[in-house]
């Protein structure tokens, strides 16, 4: 008899059970790992200011609010341009339309951001709430001029929400390479925005 025939004992019920059990245990382990990953990535702390509350990612550096900007947090662990969320409050006339805020905002951004280009703008609903979205890009003007560093291309998204006598602008600035991968986290932040 050839030495390579398979004795039937190898397919015993216990053996098959064991095979499946290993696969199940591995899948359970991976699932648990996935849940841990999600919970870690979504860790957030509450933030409240001027009647606006949100959940901001834990561990992000917070710059103290100045002027109209009430929130400015940056992810220190992102390479390239540090992913940043900001919330700005712009006073508007009570009967203002969102178009007016859009123009004000693009005018303001165009003057402060280098090589500001609008990619797209449209009315949207954000988690069921009416808003206006402006997608744009700019170049981070490198403050560290003494070092050879290629300036970063930053993509931005502004979401304008009208709220009575002011408009709330939630902005997302991210290195253009990380735009898609970090967008999910920003959507969770948007979802937590309450006013």
């Amino acid at each position: 008899m050839s030495a390579t025939t398979l004795p039937s004992k190898n397919n015993s019920l216990g053996q098959r059970f064991a095979d499946w059990a290993v696969i199940v245990v591995t899948l359970v382990g991976l699932l648990a790992g996935w849940l841990i990953k999600n919970s870690v990535e979504n860790r957030s702390i509450p933030f409240t200011n001027s009647g606006i509350s949100a959940q901001i990612p834990q561990g992000w550096l917070m710059t103290s609010a100045q002027g109209n900007e009430i929130l400015h947090v940056t992810d220190p662990l992102s390479s390239g341009f540090g992913t940043t969320y900001t919330i700005e409050i712009m006073p508007v006339a009570s009967e203002a339309t969102v178009d007016q805020v859009v123009t004000q905002l693009t005018l303001q951004r165009g003057q402060t951001l280098t090589a500001y280009r609008v990619l797209e703008q449209q009315k949207v609903t954000v988690f069921g709430r009416a808003a206006y979205e402006i997608g744009y890009v700019y170049v981070e003007s490198n403050p560290n001029l003494t070092h050879n560093q290629i300036p970063n291309i930053v993509r931005g998204l502004d979401y304008i929400f009208l709220n009575g006598d002011h408009a709330i602008v939630a902005a997302y600035w991210v290195d253009e390479k990380a735009f898609d991968s970090d967008l999910g986290r920003f959507h969770r932040f948007l979802n937590s925005l309450k006013f």
């Binding site: 095979d19 499946w20 696969i23 591995t26 899948l27 991976l30 996935w34 702390i45 992000w60 550096l61 917070m62 710059t63 103290s64 220190p76 662990l77 390479s79 540090g82 006073p91 508007v92 006339a93 203002a96 339309t97 178009d99 007016q100 805020v101 859009v102 123009t103 004000q104 693009t106 005018l107 303001q108 165009g110 003057q111 402060t112 951001l113 280098t114 090589a115 500001y116 609008v118 990619l119 797209e120 703008q121 449209q122 009315k123 949207v124 609903t125 988690f127 009416a130 979205e133 560290n144 003494t146 070092h147 050879n148 560093q149 290629i150 006598d165 002011h166 959507h187 948007l190 979802n191």
Partner: protein, 558 residues
């Protein structure tokens, strides 16, 4: 070797993949569907502006792309704020725009206090969305009597000058307004309201012509089309797609404009609310008169040939140069300051000590106009240190008073030497005042060195991966204020206020902390790098035994 029952594995991974896909939920951001289907398919380019690649407009969509909205911007509290709006038409791929004189330069119509500090130009990207502001423009030729002006795009909104030849904007070709007849069809494009209204189209017919003194019988084209005030300066085109006139406020020039509507749009006084304490923006009455384009030909030709335009009708024709010609600056007095970029003046000083981090030159002024250009030039030891001569700044300190200008170098202090400052103002940048002052004891500029004996150390270094020894670009190095350790910073929610200084590693992993650290003080240093654990060292201090320029190599491990 048999690879039996590998399907166990594949089934396992399929289950895994499916369960992962199931985690992807509904889209959080949904675009709002457009209400009405568009009559004509639009060219949906991503970037507003260069869509025709510098070709003349031939279709309605092209005419839309060549119509621009113009804002008159005024420097209020340091911010450029719009006070009025109008429309314009691009006449060349290089960004030459035709509009009304009262849109480009209200001073030409006698309203000097409405003369803007800047003109912003917005182009249409999508027809159903507000136009996007992209450029600043300057007045090149203006005729106050005709109420026509030609302006030229000069820079993008961030202040960077553009090369007109690189603009490639869509443009409208100039038609012959003398060949118009009564009952001819006219198409009017423009932006009726202030603040983000989308481009509007109205059409009508030539209902007749109106004479005006010195201008002949065809001074005005009358139309039955209803044109809202913001359309002023915009495009009136015939059916062939040629511009034949500019919709103009009928009461421009001699009559008093009846302002029927003045709307508050922006928080101009900065108090956090938009109310009647803020400046309101006049929305004019309806227009029904169009200035024929043939009158604009001399202005267009003058701008194209680079010559100054003179109005044959006696109206103001020079672009109003900001600056009365009577600007004066007083003698400069030097002041000690609070240091660094903070630079608040303290006391008059005759010479600066070496290592000073900022210098302030104070002077009185008169005859200035907000918005006029002014420039400064600093030299030390005969070599230019800082100058805004090639890019003059807009004056914003009022017409007379006292002010000061500051120069600072927080990192290593101002270089020692004999300083000379010159201040210029006016359209032609006349030298108005100059002064000399000495920093330190030396007479020649010395390359800035960390001042010895002051108990500080400059820290720089490199961040590497511990195994591969490759640099980690983009690593962030933070130093916290003395006395705060990492755990405490964490409870402070990583507040920016706790950070003493920070730097980012460049492509070679090199960094230098911009602020010097004091000796014998415990600092916490933290390094963030993507893909690595946050690494820190608490309570590190440098002593006088350490070199003044301290180099450290930090290795991170995964």
């Amino acid at each position: 070797m048999k690879l039996h029952k590998m399907y166990h594995i594949w089934i396992g991974f399929t289950v895994l993949a499916l369960s992962i896909l199931a985690c992807i939920g509904p889209t959080p951001v949904q675009p709002v569907p457009t209400q009405a289907p568009q009559a004509q398919p639009t060219q949906n380019t991503q970037n507003p502006g260069p869509s025709n690649n510098g070709q003349p407009a031939t279709s309605r969509a092209d005419l839309i792309k060549a119509t621009v909205q113009i804002y008159g911007l005024f420097d209020i509290n340091g911010k450029l704020t719009p006070k009025y709006s109008g429309s314009g038409t691009i006449l060349s791929s290089t960004g030459m725009i035709l509009t009304n004189a009262h849109v480009a330069s209200p001073a030409s119509q006698g309203e000097t206090d409405m003369e803007p500090d800047a003109l912003a130009i917005a182009l249409v990207d999508k027809e159903d969305q507000p136009p996007v502001f992209l450029y600043f423009a300057k007045v090149k030729a203006v005729d106050g009597y005709l109420d026509m002006a030609v302006i030229q795009i000069t820079s993008t909104l961030d202040g960077v000058n553009v090369d007109p030849n690189s603009l490639n904007l869509p443009y409208v070709q100039v038609g012959n307004s003398d060949s118009l007849h009564v009952a001819d069809h006219i198409n009017i494009f423009g932006f009726p309201g202030i603040g983000g209204s989308t481009i509007t189209y109205t059409d009508g017919s030539v209902s007749g012509f109106t004479p005006e003194e010195s201008l002949g019988d065809r001074a005005w084209i009358k139309t039955d089309a209803g044109i809202a005030g913001g359309n002023s300066g915009g495009l009136a085109a015939n059916d062939a797609g040629f511009i034949i006139g500019i919709p103009t406020l009928a009461s421009a020039g001699t009559d008093v404009k009846k302002i029927t509507d003045c709307r508050v749009v922006q928080d101009t006084n900065g108090d956090g609310v938009v109310d009647d304490k803020d400046m309101c923006i006049p929305i004019g009455e309806f227009i029904n008169a169009i200035r024929p384009v043939n009158f604009a030909l001399p202005l267009i030709k003058a701008v194209q040939s680079g010559q100054a335009y003179t109005s044959p009708y006696g109206g103001p024709s020079q672009p109003i140069s900001k600056g009365s010609g009577g600007e004066t600056f007083g003698t400069i007095t030097w002041y000690s300051t609070t240091g660094g970029s903070d630079c608040k003046v303290q006391d008059p000083i005759s010479a600066y000590p070496s290592g000073t981090t900022s210098m302030a030159a104070a002077f009185s002024f008169s005859g200035m106009t907000n918005g006029e250009p002014w420039a400064e030039k600093w030299t030390v030891g005969g070599q230019e240190l800082y100058s805004t001569m090639s890019n003059p700044v807009q004056w914003s300190s009022g017409s007379q008073g006292n002010t000061y200008t500051c120069l600072f170098n927080s990192q290593s202090g101002m270089p020692e030497g004999n300083y000379h400052i010159e201040l210029y103002a006016g359209q032609d940048l006349k030298l108005l005042t100059q002064s000399d002052v000495v920093v330190g004891g030396g007479s020649n500029p010395v390359p800035s060195q960390p001042s010895s004996g002051q108990g500080v150390v400059t820290v720089s270094g490199q961040v590497l991966d511990g195994d591969s020894m490759n640099p980690i670009p983009g690593a962030q190095i933070f130093i916290l204020n003395p006395g705060i350790n990492f755990a405490q910073w964490k409870t402070d929610q990583f507040a920016n206020a706790d950070i003493f200084t920070f730097a980012t590693a460049d492509n070679q992993g090199n960094f230098q902390l911009p602020d010097k650290l004091a000796l014998n003080v415990g600092y916490t240093i933290i390094i963030y790098a993507e893909g690595y654990k946050v690494t820190y060292g608490d309570n590190l201090s440098w002593t006088s035994q350490d070199p003044v320029n301290f180099q450290m190599t930090v290795k991170l491990s995964k």
